[in-house]
Symmetry: C2
């Protein structure tokens, strides 16, 4: 990691290097343009109007979000083409909010069941929002099997909803360090089967959406027309371990201070689970790495304490500031209210995490 921290941070802090961020945003945009695939980045990673504006300036065709609340924040920020890539349930106040959104932006919604589609119709969303049928391409989280996409699409269309196409999230690309390539192939193959299934039921498909940062390069080909990676803007320890980013492409760290060296063989930093999150894939040890301590690992977390096991006989002094590369950046960003933005090791801006929370 070629970039460094300014000294005037108050830790723990969420710090982003502007040069690396812009390079990451630009690189993905150029690659998708070259493949002729639309880029609709997932904004759940950054939850930031500033980062979303960068993505738009580099040619993103719209944004992906996970919740109605996130859609509202980005709509208010001037983004007019939003896809809630989630099985949206239009109940308990969300119906009215979805109707307001659909009246102001081009809104598409995920659906993987007829009851959920019926709720959209009951909420008056037919004709104002479009739907994308979610397909399970191997993650087995949500989404119907490819061969069931056609019958569901036909039933949804019969309710009066406009079906634009199909989407998937090849999240099984995160399951092992060598999973991304296979998961990307699954996305392409099974979305193809889903498109065929829709065709057999008389439904034309104009949008075929795939995506995750690990699978985006492997799946950006026909029949896929759109990709929705999120994490690529910042990258993290997991993306590097999956082999889809190198450490020079990590744009975000949590800055922390060594607060205790009282217990031998370790230091305690002021970044715990409330700033690093507790996400850890089964195949990765620890909760982050510390470049300033020879890449030592954060081995355990309390809420405001992170324990870093060190080899050195002389630990760093209490008061030393260090960087932590977190395992998974999305939940980390969601814990902070703002980014400290750095250029050339100097603090130049503070960006709000505008859609922090907004879970409902």
């Amino acid at each position: 990691m070629g970039w460094s921290l300014p000294e005037n941070l108050s830790t723990p802090a969420l710090v982003v290097d502007h040069d690396v961020l812009v390079a990451n945003v630009g690189r993905m945009a150029a690659r998708m343009r070259h493949r002729g695939v639309a880029l609709r980045p997932h904004a759940k990673t950054h939850k930031s109007l500033d980062v979303a504006a960068l993505q738009r300036d580099h040619g993103a065709t719209g944004l992906t979000v996970a919740t109605v609340g996130e859609a509202e924040v980005f709509a208010a920020g001037g983004h007019d083409d939003l896809f809630i890539a989630y099985p949206v349930i239009a109940k308990w106040g969300k119906t009215e909010r979805l109707a307001r959104l659909a009246a102001s932006v081009r809104l598409s919604l995920g659906v993987d069941s007829l009851p959920a589609a019926q709720l959209l119709v009951d909420g008056g969303l037919a004709g104002t929002a479009t739907v994308m049928v979610e397909v399970d391409t191997g993650q087995h989280r949500s989404g119907v099997p490819p061969e069931a996409a056609g019958p569901l699409a036909e039933a949804v269309a019969d309710l009066g909803l406009e079906v634009e196409g199909v989407f998937t999230h090849g999240g099984h690309g995160y399951w092992t360090p060598d999973a991304p390539a296979g998961a990307a192939r699954d996305e392409v193959a099974r979305l193809g089967q889903a498109v065929d299934s829709l065709a057999r039921w008389g439904i034309a498909t104009s949008r075929v959406s795939a995506g995750s940062s690990p699978t985006v390069l492997g799946s950006a080909m026909a029949p896929v027309t759109e990709e929705r990676p999120g994490t690529y803007v910042f990258n993290d320890r997991q993306q590097v371990a999956l082999g889809v980013a190198d450490s020079e492409q990590v744009a975000l760290v949590v800055a922390a201070t060594v607060v205790s060296t009282a217990v031998r063989g370790q230091v305690v930093i002021d970044a715990g689970s409330k700033s690093l999150g507790s996400d850890r894939p089964r195949w990765l040890e620890g909760f982050g790495t510390v470049p300033e301590l020879d890449g030592a690992m954060v081995t355990s977390l309390s809420e405001c304490h992170g324990i870093v096991v060190i080899d050195e006989r002389t630990p760093p002094r209490v008061g030393t500031m260090v960087r932590v590369v977190p395992n998974h950046v999305c939940p980390v960003v969601n814990l902070f209210d703002s980014y400290d933005v750095v250029v050339g090791g100097e603090l130049v801006d503070r960006w709000p995490v505008s859609a922090r929370g907004h879970l409902a």
Copy 2:
């Protein structure tokens, strides 16, 4: 769990039952009064001025917080006796903030090293804030060994800081389901050794502070003069598994909606790691339980998806609202901006999570 959800929630939601909360707050206060031990609850759990007011009304002598930012929120809310039970590093803007706090409230600060104490002195805090020496009683996170407490206290006092006493967190009470009793005994015994060590170095101890929700009942005895439990206000799956709360004393759940039943043998709810956190002790499987689904477990999490494995051939319908009892409530509260407060199954209030974030 005898209480139920109102229907007009927008999920995922942080829901607290007022009756159970008040009973929990009152029970702990009565027990500590009976033991003659001061109760200084840890506000990192609730981060709420409303809950802190309840605790004060029930006789709490002050509040414990983990960060300077939390102290500022509770000071602004009228709490005038605050203990930052953390090895505070007075650098990078925190010095001035600590000085402002010390000028407006009775402020005590944790210290476990001489460099950290020197920073407090350099920041002009001698004479305005007091310090408590942190003692490691078995968790091996921060704090000095009991026998080193005296020398450190003497050196800290030599710098001009007033040493009030010693404190510990018997966090090893969380390590196994039967750990609380032993950890409580460790707190009492090793704080006793620390008091002796201070006495040998000529330092009188007026405050001896222990605490965690699992160890509070076992350690509320001489020489301990103060307890700092946090989680007891709400309880959670972990406290029940540790045998220090029963399920009728769980005051907080995350309300979630079934959003997908497309994959057989499971349902997907709209509470994932961004609303349940990813905390999981080694000895507990899963990320929460769902009373409405026969106590089924949340077996895996994405950011906005929780997978609940179910036995039933007929899964609950898409759109069904359920409660999730989270593993560890503190990081969960920190993900939400407000509590939905329920009395008798009816939504009666919304309380802000006023100190959400405020990590630095």
